[in-house]
């Protein structure tokens, strides 16, 4: 109370306070909007069966390419399947793949990055491999891997994870290389702490903040990549309604029924936007120095 009063008395300080409060609101605003939007989409995915949907796979050729109506909120596609139902169920695929890739590539990338950052010999070899993988455009890398196996959600996650790992490794490695020169790590090395202990106790906690931000961006790019793969016909199996698949089906008929591309496209964009906002917000919050530039 006293602090507030004295702050109000002194104009410049109160201005600084107000400013800080407003910046805080603005910074958290991005996180709030992103997380809120994401929560809504996740709820839609989980409760898809109860949201006025019908079986997303049931076809009724008599009712194909219908415009939106009370029966079919977003119209039907070329096989008479209800677009709203397919879009609602499609959220499950995108979120599963986004989350799956984000978790897998972060864990694997973290493990590789920690080790390479500390071991010179391993570093040279692994970083060349990572450079090579990065030189292959991620869409082609994922497509090539998908061409090796059968279309399934698990395989899509693996393919995109492999394409994303190099980026995580690079980030973790750069953090490790900076930390390695820090006095507290040198002290730990000098006092004979074993390498695994150093990695877990001194290095790992410091990678959390940048990793968290990177993970959200990977989640966003994984969802885009899955939709792109499915759109090109090399992703999620056609029997599963994913946003990419719905758009792939809509490709032939999009002049007659633009909704089959428009609605899943809007949903995908909103989801990716939400995750990106979350990432930007987190990055501002965790590294205020950077946020002034970005």
């Amino acid at each position: 109370m006293n602090t507030t009063e004295s702050a109000l008395n002194r104009g410049s300080v109160s201005f600084a306070w107000m400013h800080a409060l407003r910046t805080l609101m603005r910074r958290h605003g991005m996180i709030i909007v992103g997380a809120g939007l994401l929560l809504l989409i996740a709820l839609m995915a989980v409760f898809a069966p109860f949201l006025g949907t019908v079986d997303p796979l049931s076809i009724s050729p008599a009712q194909r390419l219908r415009p939106p109506s009370p029966e079919h909120w977003l119209g039907t596609d070329m096989l008479g399947r209800d677009t709203w139902s397919r879009v609602a169920y499609g959220a499950r695929v995108s979120l599963t793949i986004g989350l799956g890739v984000a978790i897998c590539s972060s864990l694997i990338g973290l493990a590789i990055g920690l080790v390479t950052g500390f071991m010179r010999r391993v570093d040279a070899v692994i970083m060349r491999i990572m450079d090579g993988l990065m030189a292959i455009p991620s869409i082609l890398l994922a497509i090539a891997l998908m061409a090796l196996t059968q279309a399934s959600i698990g395989n899509v996650i693996i393919a995109i994870t492999i394409a994303e790992i190099p980026r995580v490794v690079r980030l973790v490695r750069s953090v490790v290389l900076t930390l390695k020169e820090q006095p507290f790590v040198e002290a730990a090395v000098a006092s004979g702490t074993r390498l695994p202990t150093i990695l877990v106790r001194h290095i790992l906690p410091n990678t959390v903040a940048p990793m968290l931000v990177q993970t959200t961006y990977i989640c966003a790019s994984a969802m885009l990549l899955e939709a792109t793969l499915s759109f090109l016909g090399a992703g999620t199996p056609p029997s599963t309604p994913s946003w990419g698949n719905i758009m792939a089906d809509g490709r032939m008929v999009f002049q007659l029924a633009p909704g089959t591309i428009l609605y899943p496209g809007i949903m995908l964009s909103l989801t990716v936007l939400a995750v990106n906002l979350l990432g930007d917000g987190l990055s501002d919050m965790l590294d205020p120095r950077l946020s002034r530039n970005m």
Partner: protein
């Protein structure tokens, strides 16, 4: 400087080797026997064995890898399983539409993204800045093919200003070429503009706070010449870096855009090859795109010494 460039060129060799190893393993790990596919349904085991031997499929892994790399280094990517044409011939036929698309996209991107980023930096934290950056975040989030279809729907179907799909060579008719290429290039450019405008802004903000900019301003230079002759070159290193990294995004975009707009380029070629599991073609196109990516990033690295002579390796 010369030794740096030479070392940098040498450093691309291991990267290209890893790419080659990956692409080769792709064919090696492929389920199914290519010899059986080529021989057809009615082939006897002897026929298949003969084809295996003629393709060198019965040799050990390292020997096959070595032979393959040697042929690839000479520009021989093998023969398409389906069309029986040499892959390098197919790639040569398809490269013009892809190059046209990529170059027009780059031209649009640079002419729009640089001013947008600079403007956003000069007007930092104002509404103008937020609108431009809002557009940038949006550009990241909307998938390329959705942008493509929206543009087709609006400009080709509704307004009927531009053709819906297709490609015409510039040597055939420059005007028709332009009418066909303008929508796909803009589709692709939007993502790229978002990426580059963001970096231009942050890089410019960094530079504009430097002492030499204040000096330039205080000696009475106009904002225009402060930006063009003092700030821009110093802000260039992160910008060209992101252009190099963005080539990956550009290639992804090319593959998708060519599908949306039915452009007979390399992207279309590789997508068709994947649907048909035509592995030699897939390998060839991946190699060409990766080679392109590595070369662009080589140029980017070399350009650092031009933009910032202090950079020494």
């Amino acid at each position: 400087m010369i030794s740096y460039i030479l070392r940098r060129i040498l450093a691309t060799v291991p990267v290209l080797l890893v790419v080659g190893l990956f692409v080769f393993s792709l064919l090696y790990l492929t389920p199914g026997d290519p010899a059986m596919v080529i021989a057809g349904d009615t082939a006897t085991p002897e026929d298949i064995a003969k084809i295996r031997a003629s393709l060198g499929l019965d040799e050990p892994f390292l020997q096959r890898l070595g032979g393959w790399l040697w042929r690839v280094a000479q520009g021989d990517f093998g023969v398409s399983i389906f069309s029986n044409l040499p892959v390098h011939v197919m790639i040569a036929q398809r490269i013009e539409p892809t190059l046209s698309l990529a170059l027009t996209t780059l031209a649009i991107t640079v002419t729009l993204a640089l001013p947008m980023g600079i403007f956003a930096a000069l007007k930092a934290s104002t509404t103008v800045d937020r609108v431009i950056m809002g557009f940038a975040v949006l550009g990241f989030s909307v998938p390329v093919f959705v942008i493509g279809y929206l543009l087709i729907l609006f400009f080709s179907v509704k307004l009927q200003w531009l053709p819906v799909q297709g490609f015409v060579s510039i040597s055939q008719d420059p005007w028709t070429f332009l009418r066909h290429i303008i929508l796909p290039s803009f589709t692709l450019a939007i993502v790229f503009i978002a990426l580059i405008a963001r970096i231009v802004r942050s890089s410019m903000l960094e530079v504009l706070s430097k002492d030499y900019i204040r000096t330039a301003k205080s000696k009475g230079l106009s904002m225009y010449s402060v930006v063009t002759s003092h700030a821009l070159k110093n802000a260039a290193v992160p910008i060209v870096t992101i252009i190099g990294v963005g080539i990956g995004a550009l290639i992804t975009g090319v593959v998708v855009t060519e599908t949306v707009f039915a452009i007979p380029g390399l992207g279309r070629l590789v997508v068709d090859a994947i649907l048909k599991r035509d592995y030699p073609v897939i390998q060839g196109v991946i190699l060409v795109f990766s080679f392109f990516y590595v070369m662009v990033n080589l140029l980017v690295d070399i350009s650092y010494t031009f933009f910032d002579p202090r950079i020494k390796y």
